[in-house]
C-alpha cells in the first residue's frame, strides 16, 4: 500500500490498560492524523516465567500451571501437555478417556469461540451479542463444574487419565444443550455476522495475505481465515480425531478480500458448528471404561525429548519437553499461538485507522496471559 504520509508523526500509546486490548498489551502507535503508520506491540506485562516454574515441580504439578496460560480454553491447554507427557512415557489411554477428552476439548472450544465472538462484537460497539454469547457459554461452564468442580481452571486432564468420570446423565444433557444451541448460531449470525455496520467495520480491514500468515507462523483460525486449509486435528490427528467426520472451514472473502477480520471471525463461527458435530459423534460412540485405569503411580519419563502439538481454539499449541529421567521436567517450552500471531502485528496493521486497530486486535483473538506465559 502506498500512502503519502505528510505532516508530523505523533506517538500514541494504546494500552497497557485499555478496554479493547484483551488484557495488558501496549501498542505503540505512530500516527499521522487518523492513520497508523506503524503499530509496535510491547508485551511481557504478564510474564511470570511459567517455563521456569515447570522445571521446579513434578510432572503432574505442571498441569494446573498450563490451565493458567489460556484461562478461556484451559481444557485445551492441559490436553496438549498431558498428551506430550503421555507420548514421552508411551502411555496408551483407553477409548473412554479419549472420547471424554475430545468432548471436553470441543465444548471448551465452543465456549472460547463464544467469548471471542461476543467480545469482538463488544469491541465494535454491539452489546447484545455479547450477552447472548455469555449466556450460552455459562451453560457449558456448568457442565465443566458438574464434571470436575471448576468453572475456569479445571486440572481435569491428568497424565494417563482423567480426574473424574462424567457424572450420570451428562451425555444426555450435553445433547439437549446442542439441540438448543445449534439453532442459536443462526440467531447470532442475524444479530452480528450479517449486520451491515459489523461488515463495514471488518470486511476490508486487517488483511493478512496467505504468504504473510505463513511467514509469521500464524496458526489456527487466523491462518484458516487467510484461506489456508490446515488444521492439526485433520492433518496430524491426535486422540483419534481421524475417526470423526468434520469439515475444516476456511475464509472465503465474502464481503471483501480473503484474510480480513471478517473472515477470521466467520471461521470461528463455522468452527463452533463443526465442534457440535464432533461432540455428537463422540457421545454416540462413548464406550464404557475406567478413566483411572492407566494413570501411572509415579510419573518418571525416560530420558528423551518430545514435541507434541494440538489444535487449541487460538491455534496450534506445541509443547517441547526435555526429560532427564527424573520426576521433574528438565525443560518445558511452549509454542504459544498468540505469540506468533502478534509477532506479525506490525505488518498487517500498517496503514489502518486508529479505530481499526481495535477491530484487528479483536479479530486475532489473543489472550495475553498465554502470550506472555
Amino acid at each position: 500500500m502506498n500512502l503519502d504520509y505528510s505532516g508530523d508523526i505523533m506517538t500514541l500509546n494504546m494500552g497497557p490498560q485499555h478496554p479493547s486490548m484483551h488484557g495488558v498489551l501496549r501498542l505503540e502507535l505512530k500516527t499521522d492524523g487518523e492513520v497508523v503508520v506503524e503499530a509496535i506491540p510491547h508485551i511481557g506485562y504478564l510474564h511470570r516465567c511459567f517455563e521456569k516454574h515447570a522445571e521446579n515441580i513434578e510432572y503432574p504439578g505442571v498441569v494446573p500451571f498450563t490451565d493458567r496460560m489460556d484461562y478461556v480454553a484451559a481444557m485445551n491447554m492441559e490436553l496438549g501437555y498431558v498428551l506430550a507427557v503421555e507420548k514421552l512415557m508411551g502411555i496408551q489411554v483407553n477409548d473412554r478417556v479419549r472420547y471424554i477428552r475430545i468432548i471436553m476439548a470441543e465444548l471448551n472450544r465452543i465456549a472460547s469461540h463464544l467469548v471471542a465472538a461476543g467480545t469482538y462484537g463488544l469491541d465494535l460497539g454491539s452489546w447484545t451479542p455479547f450477552l447472548h454469547c455469555f449466556r450460552d457459554r455459562e451453560k457449558i461452564l456448568d457442565f465443566f463444574e458438574e464434571t470436575c468442580g471448576a468453572r475456569l481452571l479445571y486440572n481435569y486432564n491428568w497424565i494417563g487419565g482423567l480426574m473424574f468420570d462424567l457424572p450420570e446423565g451428562l451425555e444426555r444433557r450435553i445433547i439437549e444443550f446442542l439441540d438448543y444451541f445449534e439453532p442459536l448460531v443462526e440467531d447470532l449470525n442475524r444479530l452480528l455476522s450479517y449486520n451491515y455496520i459489523f461488515i463495514k467495520r471488518t470486511a476490508s480491514v486487517g488483511i493478512i495475505p496467505p504468504e504473510v500468515a505463513v511467514s509469521y507462523g500464524i496458526t489456527g483460525p487466523n491462518l484458516r481465515g487467510s484461506g489456508i486449509k490446515f488444521d492439526v486435528r485433520r492433518n496430524e490427528p491426535y486422540l483419534g480425531y481421524e475417526e470423526f467426520d468434520f469439515e475444516v472451514p476456511v475464509g472465503k472473502g465474502e464481503f471483501g478480500p480473503v484474510g480480513s477480520c471478517y473472515d477470521r471471525y466467520m471461521v470461528r463461527i463455522w468452527e463452533v458448528l463443526q465442534s457440535c458435530r464432533i461432540i455428537r459423534q463422540a457421545i454416540a460412540k462413548l464406550p464404557p471404561g475406567d478413566v483411572h485405569a492407566t494413570i501411572p503411580k509415579r510419573v518418571k519419563p525416560p530420558v528423551g525429548e518430545v514435541y507434541m502439538r494440538t489444535e487449541c481454539p487460538r491455534g496450534e499449541l506445541g509443547y517441547y519437553i526435555v526429560s532427564d529421567g527424573t520426576s521433574k521436567p528438565y525443560r518445558v517450552k511452549v509454542k504459544s499461538p498468540c505469540f506468533t500471531v502478534m509477532s506479525g502485528f506490525r505488518e498487517y496493521s500498517r496503514g489502518a485507522m486508529i479505530a481499526d486497530i481495535v477491530a484487528i486486535v479483536g479479530s486475532v483473538d489473543i489472550v495475553l496471559v498465554e502470550l506472555d506465559r
Binding site: C49, K52, S343
Partner: protein, 155 residues
C-alpha cells in the same frame, strides 16, 4: 516425507555439517553445525521436496555444559515436521539469525535472547521481549538466581 528421508536429504546436501541425528517417533532431530544454520534453514525452506515454510518453535535449552537452540519446522504443503538443533558454547552463545527465512523468527529469537542470552547475529531488533529492558541475567539458564529486588521493589 518421513523423518528418515528428510535426514537422508540433509545428509546428502550438507555432509559432515550434519554431525549427528536421532530418529524416533517422539521428536526426530538432526544436529546442525552452527556456522551453517542459515544455509540449512534456507534449504529446508526453499527445497521443492521439503518446503518447510512454517517455523513452529524456536527455543533454547540449557544443558549446563552447552546451550542448544532448537528449531521445529514443518511444512504446510506436505505436513511433515522435523527438528534442527545447534549446540553453542555456554559462555558465548552466538549464532546467525534465521529472520530472513521465517519472519516469525524475529520474536522467537528475541525471546531466546531474553531467556538464555543467545546472541543472534544480524538480527534487526535484538531486545528483551518478555522481561523488562533493564532486567539482569537470563532467567531460564540453570544457574540463574532470582533477584530479591527489582528497582527496590521485592519480587
Amino acid at each position: 516425507m518421513t523423518p528418515r528421508e528428510i535426514e537422508a536429504l540433509l545428509k546428502e546436501r550438507f555432509g559432515d555439517r550434519i554431525p549427528e541425528s536421532r530418529l524416533d517417533g517422539l521428536c526426530s532431530w538432526s544436529l546442525v553445525d552452527p556456522a551453517a544454520i542459515l544455509e540449512v534453514a534456507r534449504f529446508v525452506h526453499d527445497d521443492e521436496k521439503l518446503k518447510m515454510d512454517h517455523l513452529e518453535l524456536l527455543g533454547g535449552v540449557d544443558y549446563k555444559d552447552r546451550i542448544e537452540v532448537v528449531y521445529v519446522v514443518n511444512s504446510l504443503t506436505y505436513h511433515h515436521r522435523y527438528t534442527l538443533k545447534c549446540r553453542l558454547p555456554r559462555d558465548n552463545p552466538r549464532i546467525r539469525t534465521v529472520e530472513s527465512v521465517w519472519k516469525v523468527a524475529n520474536w522467537h529469537e528475541r525471546e531466546a535472547y531474553d531467556m538464555f542470552g543467545i546472541i543472534f547475529e544480524g538480527h534487526s531488533d535484538l531486545r528483551r521481549i518478555l522481561c523488562p529492558d533493564d532486567w539482569e541475567g537470563y532467567p531460564l539458564r540453570k544457574d540463574y538466581t532470582f533477584p530479591g529486588k527489582y528497582h527496590d521493589m521485592p519480587v
